[in-house]
């Protein structure tokens, strides 16, 4: 789908930005409302649904036994993938995974993996022979902007609720997947000259470059990604990096309240 009015939209977004306004009335770093539900899919071993403004995302966790990688014989593994299926927006076409959906899955994966929130050694069944693979699948159902943050939030919430189905595989008792940290992603988009937090669908259409920051419990950064055409200054980055710390704290509370 080619969108034929981004020029008009861009002009409007620029005019609004001059008055420090956004198209949906939010402040520069104000987020839309979030509704997080857990254990929503009975066939998944862990699941979460995030309704973030008009964006809706499901995440589901499935386990399988596999042979470990030769260089890490006592470690389990994590595979994260995100699907941008045509259900999510008129702009997504059917076909093999697009570059966008691969980028989304990989950025979410890096944030979770590098935070070290999953103890991979605890997923070992028989060293050198059999380990658990954790499959985290993220399914975008409605894209009204900022799917990155919604996917990351659904992903970590689903992992936090996941149960290792050892009983079904005849290797002992079911037990909770140990997840001891809550990495949080915060995304910013240049709209009308300045960066805003949690871009809406219109801001994504009429804006330029985007920056994704994933922060761990201690405020350390675990993944960064700059996407789309455009450049930014170190001062601009410093401002949003500081803001991301505050946003991540609030989002982490939402997960903690839901999951513990």
């Amino acid at each position: 789908m080619v969108n034929i009015v981004p020029r008009l939209l861009k002009d409007q977004l620029t005019k609004l930005a001059e008055k420090d306004l956004r198209i949906d009335g939010r402040g520069q770093f104000e987020r839309r409302n979030i509704d997080l539900e857990i254990d929503v899919l009975s066939n998944a071993e862990g699941s979460a649904k995030v309704v973030w403004g008009g964006t809706i995302v499901y995440a589901g966790v499935k386990f399988a036994l596999r042979e470990p990688y030769p260089d890490r014989p006592a470690d389990g593994s994590l595979m994260t993938s995100a699907e941008l299926r045509p259900v999510a927006n008129v702009k997504y076409e059917p076909g093999p995974p697009s570059a966008e959906s691969i980028e989304l899955g990989r950025v979410v994966d890096r944030g979770i993996r590098e935070s070290g929130c999953i103890d991979m050694e605890s997923l070992c069944v028989v060293p050198g022979e059999s380990v658990w693979n954790v499959n985290l699948d993220i399914h975008v159902m409605s894209d009204k902007g900022n799917i990155f943050d919604a996917c990351a939030l659904a992903g970590i919430a689903a992992l936090k609720t996941a149960t290792v189905p050892a009983n079904r595989f005849d290797i002992g008792e079911d037990h909770k997947l140990p997840v001891n940290k809550i990495p949080i992603m915060c995304s910013y988009k240049r709209v009308g000259g300045r960066f805003v937090y949690d871009p809406s669908e219109e801001e994504e259409l009429g804006g330029s470059e985007r920056i994704h920051i994933t922060l761990g419990d201690d405020g350390h950064v675990h993944s960064l990604q700059k996407g789309l055409k455009g450049t930014f200054s170190t001062a601009e980055f410093a401002e949003i990096f500081t803001n991301a710390g505050k946003q991540a704290e609030e989002l982490r509370k939402i997960v903690e309240e839901m999951v513990i």
Partner: protein
């Protein structure tokens, strides 16, 4: 059909493993307008099945070779999410989902007034989020509601439901165990007002008398589910007053 006829699925008094009687549906619920990015949408739960459907269009049909000069084409995708079954499904189309998408499109083309939108296409995206036997019926029934929510002109709604046979007894709406160990499955798609059949499949083993009984159960269930479809649409558009 799994063909393991010796698994006991139904008691002497006709009670099934989950406590239902022979002609009883699993619990069904429908919610309209659940996906903000879509023009029309619907969420349906049917037992443990969860389907969410988005409708986009009518829009220009491309590639151009799929255009029809006298009508719209329905571009339907039935897809099972990777986490929807007990073993993870690899993402992407497979032979099963292709076939279900095709027969679903043909059933829906029988109710949509496609001649009103020449050269265009209407996209129907059926996502199965949780599967427990009967997902194609759930998808078709939900898709008809999502099309109505999108304001697409239609002759009638469409209700899809299945009856089957377990331990030599004809029953309505097989659940997962009954589907795995049962002897027959007869999914149909019925226009609830005219009672015409727009979708029909079957596999297994049924005598003519058993087929008649299975169709009788299906027809009765169509009226039940049709009421739930209408209520769901009304509660979105009238705030539930009527």
């Amino acid at each position: 059909m799994g063909g393991y006829g010796d698994v006991e699925l139904i008691a002497k008094d006709g009670t099934r493993l989950d406590g239902r009687s022979v002609d009883e549906l699993r619990p069904v619920s429908i919610e309209v307008g659940v996906l903000p990015a879509a023009r029309g949408s619907c969420r349906m739960t049917w037992g443990l099945n969860i389907a969410e459907v988005a409708v986009y269009g009518p829009m220009e049909a491309h590639p151009r070779k799929i255009q029809r000069p006298d009508r719209a084409v329905l571009d339907v995708r039935y897809n099972m999410a990777p986490f929807s079954t007990s073993d993870r499904i690899r993402p992407g189309f497979n032979r099963r989902s292709r076939e279900i998408s095709k027969v679903t499109a043909e059933a829906l083309e029988s109710i949509v007034m496609v001649e009103m939108f020449p050269r265009s296409k209407i996209r129907v995206e059926i996502e199965i989020l949780c599967a427990e036997a009967g997902t194609r019926c759930c998808g078709i029934t939900a898709a008809a509601v999502a099309l109505a929510d999108a304001g697409i002109p239609m002759k009638d709604l469409l209700v899809s439901v299945a009856a089957g046979k377990i331990n030599d007894v004809v029953v309505l709406d097989l659940d997962k165990a009954e589907d795995n160990y049962g002897q027959a499955d007869l999914p149909v798609g019925i226009l609830p007002n005219s009672k015409e059949i727009a979708f029909l499949q079957m596999d297994g083993d049924l005598s003519p008398a058993e087929f008649d009984l299975a169709m009788e159960y299906n027809m009765k269930a169509v009226d039940e589910i049709h009421k739930i479809q209408i209520e769901a649409l009304r509660s979105k558009y009238t705030g539930g007053d009527n």
